[in-house]
């Protein structure tokens, strides 16, 4: 009992100490993300920390262990709200579940900044996320360059229902149609981001178009499908560009099976979100969307200092 009391007293002293250290007059921005352990979310955190240093603000960064833990995220959000932050930076796992709390925050006049896939509501003052349309257009430019501005290309996309899926598809297709008249789009198929389904689709596209020159996979699963198809059919002469990362995709690029891929910039997402929060606290005007940028990576640059932290396995 004595030992326990002593332990608690020690803990108390420690906590009061950290409490006073933390209680500075800097503006406080609470960040609640959709994940924590995953490298993508740690990269977002790194960007947020950098922005906090640059703008001299206090931040906390929390997220549930997995993207299924909706209730944990709501608890984290509730606690963040109780700390009375000057701004809230939030990426909802489920907007419906979080809506009452978001509305409460909004009614207190605390600005809310959405990031990544954001919040499906018009309450947030802005959303810091990848502009998938622009990123995919760049993939089209790279593709044209790889196949010599003429030939036949196809694409595997995750779905035609999600906003991300549509933007990545349209960014690629529109750019090819509008800027490269010598390139023909022979097929676009949807594999739900599923490795196996995407593999079957990619194989049938290659079988029916043996003279295919280029292939675009609009997310990790779609790109992995193309990688599998190319390996099974022995067709690594087809120029291929993927999207996102993951160990299979990284290996395929390293081994020259596919040419390169686009990656989002999670560090940029964290940085821009906190930057936007600082501006919102000051009452500055913000655009509805903040493009957090993207990178094209291939065998040559994937180990560089800038890209390493962005590529998750």
């Amino acid at each position: 009992m004595k030992k326990l009391t002593l332990l608690f007293v020690l803990l108390a002293v420690l906590l009061v100490f950290t409490g006073t250290v933390m209680a500075q007059d800097k503006p406080y921005i609470a960040i609640v993300s959709k994940g924590f352990q995953h490298q993508f979310w740690q990269a977002v955190r790194q960007g947020a920390k950098q922005a906090a240093e640059d703008y001299d603000v206090e931040i906390t960064y929390e997220g549930p262990e997995s993207e299924t833990q909706v209730a944990n995220q709501i608890d984290m959000l509730q606690t963040a709200v109780d700390k009375n932050p000057d701004a809230l930076v939030f990426a909802a796992l489920d907007t419906q579940a979080a809506l009452p709390l978001i509305e409460e925050v909004d009614s207190k006049g605390i600005p809310i900044i959405a990031f990544d896939s954001g919040i499906d509501s018009d309450i947030p003052v802005t959303t810091a996320a990848t502009d998938n349309y622009v990123a995919s257009s760049y993939a089209a430019d790279k593709m044209a360059e790889l196949i010599g501005y003429q030939g036949k290309v196809a694409a595997i996309v995750q779905d035609q229902t999600s906003l991300t899926g549509r933007k990545r598809r349209d960014g690629f297709l529109d750019r090819i149609k509008n800027s490269y008249p010598e390139i023909e789009i022979v097929d676009v198929q949807y594999g739900g981001g599923d490795h196996l389904k995407s593999t079957d689709l990619a194989k049938s596209i290659i079988e029916s178009n043996p003279d295919l020159d280029g292939f675009f996979g609009a997310n990790e699963g779609s790109a992995v499908g193309i990688v599998n198809a190319i390996m099974e059919l022995g067709r690594d002469d087809i120029a291929t560009i993927g999207f996102d990362s993951g160990s299979i995709l990284l290996d395929a690029i390293r081994n020259g099976i596919i040419d390169g891929a686009i990656t989002q910039n999670p560090v940029g997402i964290g940085y821009r979100a906190v930057e936007a929060a600082v501006k919102a606290i000051k009452g500055e005007e913000l655009p509805e969307m903040i493009d957090t940028g993207f990178y094209y990576y291939n065998k040559r640059n994937m180990d560089s200092e800038i890209l390493q932290p962005l590529l998750y396995k």
């Binding site: 009992m1 326990l4 332990l7 608690f8 803990l11 108390a12 906590l15 009061v16 950290t18 409490g19 933390m22 924590f36 206090e58 906390t60 960064y61 929390e62 997220g63 262990e65 299924t68 833990q69 909706v70 209730a71 709501i74 608890d75 984290m76 509730q78 606690t79 963040a80 709200v81 109780d82 700390k83 009375n84 489920d94 419906q96 579940a97 809506l99 009452p100």
Partner: protein, 323 residues
Amino acid sequence: MDANIKEKKQLISADSKQKVLAFSSLIMMIIVFSIASPHFATFSNFIGILISTAVTGLLAIGVTFIIITSGIDLSIGTVMTFGSVMTGVFITFMGLPIWLGILGGILASTVAGIVNGSLTAKLKIPPFIATLGMMMVAEGLNLVISGTKPIYFMHTPAFRKIAMGKFFNIPHAVFIFLGAAIVAGIILDKTVFGKYTYAIGSNEEAVRLSGVNVDRWKIAIYAFGGFFYGIAGVIMASRLNSAQPALGPGYELEAIAAVVIGGTSLSGGKGTILGTIIGAFIMSVLTNGLRILSIPQEWQTVITGAIVIIAVYTDILRRKKTA
């Protein structure tokens, strides 16, 4: 005779000592956090703590009975979610009245409990394995039944009121939790059901030899646990305004930790509902307080784990002293 009374007295005082110790730890934690942060001791934060304790608390109450019989239940979290998902199916998919949907959801979890009990009592499968199987079966069924997507209660706004409607500014979930705790406490302390729960945990063979149908009681106790997980599932769904099929794994450990911190022995025969409630509050106050203090998340986990070990160790020390 004298020795018997003495032993009994010691047992009682030991039990109450543990409760006092657990309770004073809880109070001390609250005081420490209140001093450390001005955001801790606020009405809104206390309500936050109460709501987040409601779900784990209900789960912990249910499994307390099972642990006292020296059983265990690993299917707590996913059976809770089974209750949420079935409530969603009844209300949103089938359009049944809210009360009927809730009843159906709770019943679904209770049935899962009956299956757990039957596997353990009738087929003699060790409860660790039987409920591990149920944990996975329920996890899979939740995804199958819901089509792997959350089921929303968009067209029945009244459903959200079940947990989040307010009475004197306090959400209903808190009253449901405290009400259930009192009822469970009475059942464990004052009824035959409670008496057999303790007896089976202390010496199952003796109870069997005295002519009691142990199997039937065991099935009832696991069903009772499932019933409480069902209530927790309904509250969870109401709070999130949706049945989230992938939720569940992880909750079993939180609930079991609360029970053990509350002084219920994993070897059976001992334990109280009050202890479990205190245990559940220790866990949630700790999680909340560390968040309020903005302790980095990775350290929050380390500290929580350490506290669980310390709490159980002090319990062992106390047992040694009284033995």
